[in-house]
Symmetry: C2
Subunit: 163 residues, 2 copies
């Protein structure tokens, strides 16, 4: 299937993260990293009632990812894995999904915390985080299960120190 | 920002779901709905070690969604909400995210359960479900918090009765 699928951004990220090497790799390591999602005016109506949700899933482009690789060393471990068994940005389709905290909405602007997305990233979609859809108890998490929480936090937060 | 972002599918879904009106709306309502994700051979190497994970996040195209709407009535409720406060398919960029159960892998083919994705849907990305990244306790879930679990299951499973 050689079909090309085309999308247009519905908004853009404004964050303090301009250096990928100092950006936490996941929202759980990004507490205190505040920023905004600025939705383009023509889509503002689509945000109605989103302020009822404490968390949202943002789908965006890893706009500064390097060329795709099929085998990668993830940030949290020094062993290689297939890219689809990791969350590394250098994917065949460089799509990021981040589960961030929604602090408030002002018109077309969402104010966020736990933000691990690079400044200027084009946003493709926003979905509400709905606990009954999102949580699986007792999930088996492959190579990630061998990494303790302290190591994950240290490597995952990187050298982010706050604003 | 009028930039167009282009993706190419990395695989395709084979499921028993050919009638959208009889397809569960979320994986949590799709227990027993088995099917496959067939990754194209050129990406097979990217699947290495994915079999260690019990659940995966599939990002795909809602290839049979109608034209985008900014305000929708979701499946679980008869009130209107902004599309970004729902999981409805008729989004400006019709991107679906489904958290499904990975039963086994055979080469480039992933065997799945809890599958709520329509047959033939083009797949854009696969990510492992990693509990430490995905779960938020005490999330506030807006209009979804007003729907009890029994109603959600009845409306969310739709009239799917199994194969």
């Amino acid at each position: 299937m050689n079909r090309t699928i085309k999308f247009k951004p519905i908004g853009i990220i404004a964050s303090g993260h301009t250096d990928p090497a100092k950006t936490p790799i996941q929202p759980v390591f990004a507490r205190g990293c505040k920023g905004r999602l600025e939705v383009f005016p023509e889509y503002e109506q689509g945000l109605a009632d989103i302020e009822g949700f404490s968390h949202i899933l943002i789908t965006y482009l890893f706009h500064r990812a390097g060329p795709p690789k099929l085998v990668v060393k993830p940030y949290l471990e020094d062993k290689q894995h297939g890219v689809f068994a990791t969350r590394a940005p250098c994917r065949p389709n460089p799509l990021g999904i981040s589960l961030v905290r929604l602090i408030k909405r002002e018109g077309p602007v969402l104010y966020l915390d736990d933000l691990d997305i690079l400044d200027d990233a084009p946003v493709l979609d926003i979905k509400p985080y709905i606990s009954r859809f999102e949580v699986r108890d007792n999930a088996r998490c492959g190579w990630q299960d061998d990494i303790d929480d302290t190591t994950a936090f240290r490597r995952g937060r990187r050298n982010y120190r706050g604003d």
